[in-house]
Amino acid sequence: MFYRQAGIRYTSYPAERQLWPLGIERVLMGLILALALIAPALLSPLLLSSYLLPWVIWSIAALGLNLLMGGAGQIHLGYAAVMAIGAYSATHAARAGLPFELSLLVAGLASAVIGVIFGAAALRIRGLYLAIATLAMQYIVDFAIGHIPAISGGTQATVATPTPRILGIPVEGPVGGYYIALVVCIVVTLFMLNLRRTSFGRALAAIREKDYAAEILGISAFRYKLMAFWTSSFIGGVAGAILVFCYYRSVSPEQFHLETSVQLVAMVIVGGLGSVLGTFLGAALILLAPLALSALVASLASSGLPIGSDLRAHLPLVLYGALIVGFLIAEPLGLAKLYDNARKYLLVWPFRHARS
């Protein structure tokens, strides 16, 4: 209905593979980008720092995990550990006097190196066994951080992060943190969008479908599985660093426990495996739905509905669970697929299906 396809013609094959061939989608992307840029002026500081900022940061992390799960088909139940490695290495690097930009790089590299070591397990095992192996990574990293005071500063200790400096200029407050996170988010998003147009992305897709078959096609599963873990862990490390520098402003072991890993996996699955847009939607649902639901229940309770204080604590969780189950029953392929269905419905409007 809103999509216009007449007059779209290509004079070269690269032009035919552009990201958004439809005019309205380009406009939409521009609009979203513009809104993201002026968001601090539109939203109250509370909304910005407790809703939008975490959404952007968790989206970066979920994008990294989606590269591994949706792109290469490798499950990872220890992604929070990957983020933890990034968070701690960036913090220590910055405290040692390294510039913030380089600290981010250190975070990515440290996560990538350690992530690849655990990812090597994927060369021999897959499916549930890989899930257990990555779960082991979660516990090993948790244990290592907790028991090496040189990293955590002690079992229950919290290490404050220095103020990030971009080109030597200190960036303070939620607004500055938001813009740092946004820039990183845009870079990672562009990378993910373009991934499927590269030989790397196609090789990952081949491995996702069947690694034997990919080998027969001449794609080195060894090389590409390690590259997938490397890239994904790199993004995870950077996301971890951004999380502690721009949002928590300090780093402690309990920020990166198993629960966080499971939440990240939930974001990817609810959003839609392999979809960039879905990752954002999934992160929003997993992250913001509990907050929105508690607010809703609280306002219902204060408006006079007889909701007991016990119920008031548990009802949001019940609704939250129901919401996730409901979405997955409605569309097992995730929120991205729901959007895709709506898009296709409007794309062929006013007909039932595409007609030649």
């Binding site: 999509y3 007059g7 004079t11 035919e16 409007w349 006013p350 039932r352 030649s356």
Partner: protein, 673 residues
């Protein structure tokens, strides 16, 4: 009665000083002043390959230089056969550079008829699109010794061919370029040769009444036609056009060559005929000409798609479309739309019309024309209601398709518009429309007898159409003079008009209305295979062939209802009372229609004489056996028992025949060759 009522002509801004003298001069001017602008966009393996005016100019001159070496000289013909290809268009112009003329032939002409289209102008060189056409030309050469040289565009299947005189298009260009480089001054010499009095192209009359006559359109005719169209606002400078019509039809020549050069269009050429409708969407032309059957086919696509759509979308369509059509009808009758109407139209535009125009590829069409024959009123209104400014273009091959046009703000349902600037129109004694203009040819090629018959001494062309000129200068066309017929009861009607009305039904693709000298009207109907097939599928009706589908009792009922709907809109004597669903579609290979899909009434009436007799005798069935011609020229016999049926209508007070339907008893025999 002599009408020269023409709105004030506005000179197209492209011009500056005036029209170029010849098409070659126009090509040189475009290459000089707008060398970087895209002239031709041709789809090849999914990509739109572009040629600028500079490229095209160079290509045409190189081709001409190469052609001259093959022996093409002034006043000889160059045969062009194939679907629309940039190379074939370039060949047409290259022939003109050498003062020779192109003689395009319909791509689907069978080998046996090819001789008819190549008898004028001693064509020694032929341009063929692909191997299929090359084979036809080789056949032709084995029987009449011409053409000596065959230039082909698509080399697929020809690499190993050893036939003498086969030249790949690319090689000819190469030779031409080499020659241009070797002979200084040759390019300028070539560019300056063409004269306004040269024949630009040799068209053939459609042959509704016999063998096609050669119609020699001269350079000055072609330029004048394009210029008057520009002056009339039929098209502006720099339009995007879609070249998909047969290259041997004057409509394509006018838009894709004459007007394209004079008004500097960008010509978009689809990949193949089969992809034309998809490619149309990719092009979204600003100027679009289609024959009525193409508009009908488009309408059918929409109707079938909507019938198959979800209830919500169908309901929206059924709400907005009839209202928009009714509003357009009132608007054309001179009523201003009310505010409420306007609101409904705007919402409809957003919800239904704009998506439909986008789907059809007509969202950018500023100028849309129908031409060639009359378009059914309902189809016309449908597209105008969609918001496409569809107008009628009335013309003959002899006038380079430009006689009259409906001006944008002056469209009436019952007229074809006003004469174009520079076109004079008057009526002959018997009501025949006579035309005189700069774009009218001087006569038929090498046929003084036919020329004397069709042209008066002082340059007027007898169009053969019966018409009238309204007091305000609008021209009304009734139909062919030879086609105005009377029933035995003395009622006057034009079968073609009725046929076009009836073809609005998506289920009817072709039909012949009968009734000359008969007490009432009857029809031979050819169902639309796609639409009816889809309809049958949805209802779980099994069929294995067109013939079987056409004879299903339910399909008979479907056609009956369609006819009944139209009957209600017609005065009593013009109603169709009986009909038969033919077991095959009318086919140009069988001679039932022309290559441009006009009905050859006499052929149909002769061929189906027993069937027609049975229709009027009130029989329930008729056994029909006809000879059909296959594409390769072989023939076969096709026999079948057809069910004859009445159209139920209580309005027939003198009904003698009770309503009945044929049963399913059928006999089919196909005997090959």
């Amino acid at each position: 009665m002599n009408a020269r009522a023409t709105p004030a002509a506005v000179a197209p801004e492209a011009a500056g000083t005036g029209p170029p003298a010849t098409l070659i001069a126009a090509l040189a001017r475009n290459a000089r002043d707008h060398g970087g602008t895209t002239a031709i966009r041709e789809r090849e393996l999914g990509l739109w390959r572009e040629r600028s005016w500079h490229d095209l100019h160079g290509e045409v001159l190189a081709l001409a230089a190469g052609l001259e070496e093959l022996g093409v000289g002034p006043d000889t013909a160059v045969t062009i056969i194939g679907d629309n290809r940039a190379s074939l268009y370039a060949a047409m112009l290259a022939a003109n550079v050498l003062r020779a003329f192109s003689a395009p032939v319909f791509a689907d002409v069978p080998p046996a008829e090819l001789e008819l289209y190549t008898r004028h102008g001693e064509p020694a060189v032929a341009f063929a699109e692909d191997q299929e056409q090359v084979d036809k030309l080789l056949d032709l050469r084995s029987s009449i010794g011409r053409p000596r040289h065959i230039v082909y565009d698509d080399p697929r299947g020809l690499a190993q061919s050893t036939a003498a005189g086969l030249v790949p298009y690319a090689k000819l260009i190469e030779q031409g370029r080499a020659r241009l480089a070797a002979v200084p001054g040759l390019a300028a010499d070539l560019e300056g040769r063409s004269r306004p009095d040269d024949i630009a192209i040799l068209m053939h009359s459609s042959g509704t009444t016999g063998t096609p006559k050669g119609i020699a359109i001269r350079q000055r005719n072609a330029v004048a036609a394009a210029w008057s169209g520009g002056c009339a606002g039929a098209f502006a400078t720099g339009e995007d056009t879609f070249a998909y019509l047969p290259i041997a039809w004057v409509g394509d020549y006018l838009l894709s060559i004459a007007a394209a050069l004079v008004m500097r269009f960008t010509i978009n050429i689809p990949e193949r005929q089969e992809t034309a409708m998809l490619d149309l969407r990719a092009v979204a032309p600003t100027l679009y000409l289609a024959a009525p059957r193409a508009w009908d086919a488009m309408l059918t696509r929409v109707q079938v798609g909507i019938a198959d759509s979800t209830p919500l979308k169908r309901a929206l369509f059924n709400f907005f479309m009839p209202r928009a059509i009714a509003m357009e009808r009132r608007r054309l009758a001179g009523e201003a739309p009310s505010a409420r109407d306007e609101l409904v139209r705007r919402v409809g535009e957003a919800v239904i019309f704009a998506p439909l125009k986008d789907y059809l590829g007509l969202s950018r069409a500023r100028h849309a024309f129908t031409g060639g024959e009359a378009l059914g009123e309902d189809t016309f209104l449908f597209f105008r209601a969609l918001g496409i400014k569809l107008t009628q273009l009335y013309g003959q091959t002899e006038t380079c398709a430009m006689t009259a046009i409906q001006f944008a703000d002056d469209v009436r349902l019952d007229t074809v518009g006003r004469p174009l600037p520079g076109v004079e129109i008057k009526l002959g004694d018997d009501g025949e429309i006579l035309v005189r203009s700069q774009s009218t040819v001087d006569g038929y090629f090498n046929d003084p007898a036919a020329t004397a018959k069709a042209f008066t001494g002082d340059g007027w062309l007898r169009t053969g159409d019966a018409g009238a000129i309204e007091p305000d200068g609008q021209l009304v066309v009734y139909g062919r003079v030879s086609e105005v017929v009377h029933t035995a009861a003395g009622d006057r009607y034009i079968p073609n008009y009725l046929e076009n009305r009836i073809k609005f039904s998506p289920y009817i693709r072709n039909l012949a209305v009968l009734g000359a000298g008969k007490p009432w009207l009857a029809a031979i109907v050819c169902i639309d295979r796609e639409a009816v097939g889809h309809w049958a599928e949805q209802r779980g009706l099994a069929y294995s062939s067109f013939a079987e589908l056409s004879q299903l009792p339910q399909v008979c009922e479907l056609v009956r209802n369609s006819l009944d709907d139209i009957n209600r809109q017609l005065s009593a004597p013009l109603r169709i009372r009986r009909f038969v669903n033919l077991h095959k579609d009318f086919d140009a290979d069988d001679g039932e229609i022309t290559r441009t899909r006009k009905l050859r009434r006499t052929v149909v009436e002769e061929r189906y004489a027993p069937l027609i007799a049975a229709l009027y005798a009130g029989a329930e069935h008729a056994d029909v056996e006809i000879t059909i011609t296959y594409e390769n020229g072989t023939t076969g016999a096709f026999a079948r028992r057809l069910a004859l049926a009445d159209v139920a209508d209580a309005a027939f007070e003198d009904r003698a025949i009770p309503v009945r339907l044929g049963n399913g008893a059928q006999r089919q025999a196909m005997e090959g060759r």
